[in-house]
Symmetry: C2
Subunit: 154 residues, 2 copies
DNA sequence: TATTGTTATACTCTATAACTATA
DNA sequence: TATAGTTATAGAGTATAACAATA
């Protein structure tokens, strides 16, 4: 009946990168489920949050901040603008750029989303004691800060 | 000259999920760079490692272990088989299934890859003291273990 | 000359549905 | 009836290259 000798992880067992990957999958899964009714992905949520925190920023600034190519950002903003969540306003000072702002609807929705995301974080990390959560955040930051030092040749 | 007041992270600032996302991006970046000469992605590396550690496993078993649909796995295995790294062998006991094994070339390559991955892990986590690395691994496992308890309705 | 936003295009990764052969 | 592997297909999400407007 039960054919589950459960596979050995082998070399993967000891890799922190592998553990991080699994955690990321679990996290994304729960995030996606929480946001499904709003059709909001982590990237879209990131864009909304950054526009909210930095009203008037340009598309290039936003693209860099969320690690997207500027061409990729166009479609994302088209989507958010079509939903009347975000507004592109041509800048007066540099006519090449657009200033990005949330609409009132955008702010309203983001408020709801933030509460959802807080619940999501609580589900995923709430079981950990506060000091371990802080430790985890600190360690993850340290990892992000690590830039590739050496370029490797075959 | 320098137009970098650097954006505010706003709400994202306090999110562990966001930190994890950034760490994942940095990690993937370095992994990709290290593996580029071999055309090996994290998923392919995972598949090779699991086949190595569980010779004779079926495609379904592998698919579940690396969180892919069985249809998605087909192309991945086609690729690895075309490169003579993996072999599909029809099972004698259940003729619907294939037994997966590394070829000698596959084993040879995996050996090289493992060394690369160890270097990669050292680059990304080597600066952390050993006890913090262990703590990080432990916390990430705890996060993965967290299953979504409640299903959320709008 | 360089940068910004845009478009056209293509590539990668993934899943769903339907087929076949076995169980 | 159900499962394993396959195929056809489509949908996200991403990047590269070229273009017009502006700096």
């Amino acid at each position: 009946m039960n054919k589950k000798p459960s596979l050995s992880l082998g070399f993967l067992e000891g890799l922190i990168g592998f553990r991080l990957r699994l955690a990321q999958i679990a996290l994304f899964d729960d995030f996606e489920r929480a946001m499904r009714p709003f059709d909001i992905t982590p990237t879209r949520f990131g864009a909304l949050s950054l526009i909210d925190a930095n009203p008037g920023l340009s598309q290039m600034q936003l693209a860099k901040a969320i690690r997207l190519d500027r061409s990729t950002l166009v479609a994302l903003l088209d989507h958010l603008e079509k939903r009347s969540l975000v507004q592109r306003r041509p800048s007066a000072t540099d006519k090449r750029t657009n200033e990005l702002r949330l609409t009132p609807e955008g702010r309203l929705l983001l408020g709801k989303l933030k509460r959802r995301v807080q619940e999501h974080e609580k589900r995923m990390f709430g079981k950990l004691p506060a000091d371990e959560r802080a430790q985890l955040a600190r360690l993850l930051e340290a990892v992000s800060a690590m830039k590739t030092k050496q370029v490797i040749e075959i």
